[in-house]
Symmetry: C2
Subunit: 506 residues, 2 copies
Amino acid sequence: MVPTEINGQAAIPYKGVGKHRPEGRKFAPRIATCIDYPDDGDKRVPTLKDALIKSGLKDGMVISTHHHFRNGDLIANQIFDIAHELGVKNLIWVPSASFECHVPLIKYLEDGTIHHIEGSMNGSLGKFTSHGKMKGVGILRSHGGRYQAIQDGEVQIDIAVIAAPTADPFGNATGDRGPAACGLLGFALADSQYADKVIVVSDTIVPFPCVPWQIQGNYVDYVVEVDKVGIPEKIVSGTTEVTKSPDRLLLAEMTAQFCDEVGIIRDGFSFQAGAGGTALSIGIYFSEMLRARGMKARFARGGSNKYLVKMLEEGLTDFILDGQTFDLEGVRSMRENWNHLNTSPFTSYNYHGKGNFASMIDVVILGATEVDVSFNANVVSHSDGLLLHGIGGWQNCLASKCVILPIPLFRDRIPVILDEVTTICGPGELIDVIVTERGIAVNPKRKDLLKKLNGSKLPIKTIEELKAEAEKICGKPAKPKFTDKIVAAVKWVDGTVIDVVRQIAE
Amino acid sequence: MVPTEINGQAAIPYKGVGKHRPEGRKFAPRIATCIDYPDDGDKRVPTLKDALIKSGLKDGMVISTHHHFRNGDLIANQIFDIAHELGVKNLIWVPSASFECHVPLIKYLEDGTIHHIEGSMNGSLGKFTSHGKMKGVGILRSHGGRYQAIQDGEVQIDIAVIAAPTADPFGNATGDRGPAACGLLGFALADSQYADKVIVVSDTIVPFPCVPWQIQGNYVDYVVEVDKVGIPEKIVSGTTEVTKSPDRLLLAEMTAQFCDEVGIIRDGFSFQAGAGGTALSIGIYFSEMLRARGMKARFARGGSNKYLVKMLEEGLTDFILDGQTFDLEGVRSMRENWNHLNTSPFTSYNYHGKGNFASMIDVVILGATEVDVSFNANVVSHSDGLLLHGIGGWQNCLASKCVILPIPLFRDRIPVILDEVTTICGPGELIDVIVTERGIAVNPKRKDLLKKLNGSKLPIKTIEELKAEAEKICGKPAKPKFTDKIVAAVKWVDGTVIDVVRQIAE
């Protein structure tokens, strides 16, 4: 049961996978003219405040930022400091993701500077939302869903602020170089294309042309030079390492073996794994198999990191198709290697495009906070009912030919497999395999996979069996208690509302 | 005097440079959905005919093609052969330019398969138009004006057919490799972004991903594999060489010296010269000056060729910003060199963007068929009144900081400087310098340039003096005779109509 109106706008309830057919046309930005831009291409203004004022910042506007700087972002908070100073109210913040560095924005959510967030409410911002303190209803979208919503005009961005590691005075910008290098800027692509006003902020301004122009200056209104655009050590997750936990290594090994037994590991295959320790370890198992057999992948989708870069440089994959770089090796490789490709939510995830890359991938390895006996999965809230995570590319990746969730059977003595997930983020029909340390459950819809596992030594079980095992050890978990108030809506990749998050009962 | 209605559509007369302010919003293509595209990304259909039928080809549709294959294009004619075979009538053909290889289309202009051409009517197609034989009124647009018109919805493309040297089954396509390599595909960018249906045709299909994806598969509906997509020897202008004509060398030398005397040649400057023999020679003079002084250009805009590539490889310019490659050295460099950049009419020329590259260039060297005493210039027709050329990027380049036209004072004993040009393509206020073998005329508006030429040994004259000299030698030329019938309209970079071409009186 989901509402048909959210924040005063009509909302379409989820209809099923591939069941909602969009009508109408893409959002049409205003036609610009060179009359309004300097002939010499120098769009610099002295401060971010000047740029926001020139962009017409006023009550109720929609302001967007990207999260390529992750927890090292210095710009989003400044935007709202300025808005607060100017007495502007009821802004809608549309980040591509939020981090703990954005906790200072809670005071602006409280005082009405920000009305609500559309994007992700992570960690403390999620808790704030769960406790019913945000004025509007939060909207959670996948990376592809964010592109779709902006493209389709469901979110109309008034001002996009694009923090960039390097830029030129015209507004061409790149993420692959500069003191705050973050690799790429794909999450800001839709913002640059569709926002009414676009501000590029950088601490490294080079003479025109800044290359590669990941963000094209022809979409940019103003350029602002600042002392420091991000905190490098918090931008890259320098600590991303393969797991040493025996439990996680077991999950990784079982997952890799599963992929091998069902015939996924073959010359020219493709895969996507996240940046977590388990996922990294699976990539290493894949590498070993390929090396031993003299095979290579056609492409690996990332989140790139030093392990993927090593695969590329060793010739174990032809390409990395990168959506965000997670460490400096990823940044270096993207800068130096023609075959380390800059992708975006448009190329990889937009469901309202003429196809996208996600459905072409042979196997994706994803996480989940909860799974239920219908294979529905949750990634945004925990079993205590608290909203804590964004969707990221998770929903989009479910389009892959084989979706595997390697997850522990329980966390802190709370079972991960339930009768019903707290929040449905992904429909069970798209989730093929659950790998736990005590057994692997294959979605009964995937008769083809089950057939290939005939005679396997892997511990293949039903999901009900896995759930029973967990409950035998931990007991049946208590359900969280909610009020009736909806605090956030979860969008599906096609813009429909698949579920809502309700306020935690205190 | 220009019409306010052309081919049944309202037209806006030219208002002056920077005087027409566009209203409204960009064209909004229909929202697509992955429901309609194959999950495995394979969009191949057996033949171009199948693709056109699936795209809904029918009477009155707007069909676009690009001209990166120049006189080696094999695809445009096939489209209309198929349309004719299917009995489809009144199509509008929107090429980014036409060549003699398109002469077979005259029969379809005659039999009503094609109603009219919007783009360029070159050579035989121009003569056909000039003789009043085309059913509709031809529209001539610059490369930037074509992007603007498509972006703004003045031209709504039903089916774009993008011939590509290399592509993948998803529709990602590149021009920089394959037997029919042409360098880049920028002239098809607008078509890919805004057309209702997009067909990629190639003779070289590689496994996904085809890189670099100059055309993004996410915009593509169908992919067609053909035996041969273009004739390589006619695609590259292998014969592009510097001029050996003493007259032209003199023009080149005077132009280069002029640029030096007015201070254009400095460390970090930028220039654009065409592919003609004179322009190439000017580039070589520039190179010699830079090399001798230990300086380098920041960027050279091309049309790239072996001479520009040599400059880049020798370190005499940081970058080539390339809009079309004219020889195989240009193709190789674009494929191999990070600093040989793929540009498009969007980045370089679109007047309805948030600025573009053209106005940032220190000097451009262009040609003209005629110039008048107000410095107005013509590039599409000759003094006999025949329409023979397209506009190319010529109008867009007039935005440069200094526009120089090195032209002979007369051609075939017909003076090139007149009281009034046959067709105004560029307003005199944007044209700064006319260099002829008998003297250099500086636009009186450019007092700054004239001041810098104080004491110069260059033969600085007024344009009236140059005209008088030509007339003294050749006599005053007779004006061509026209009927009242408008056969083509010349658009300015902002979409307004700056002039028309009338039917030649037989």
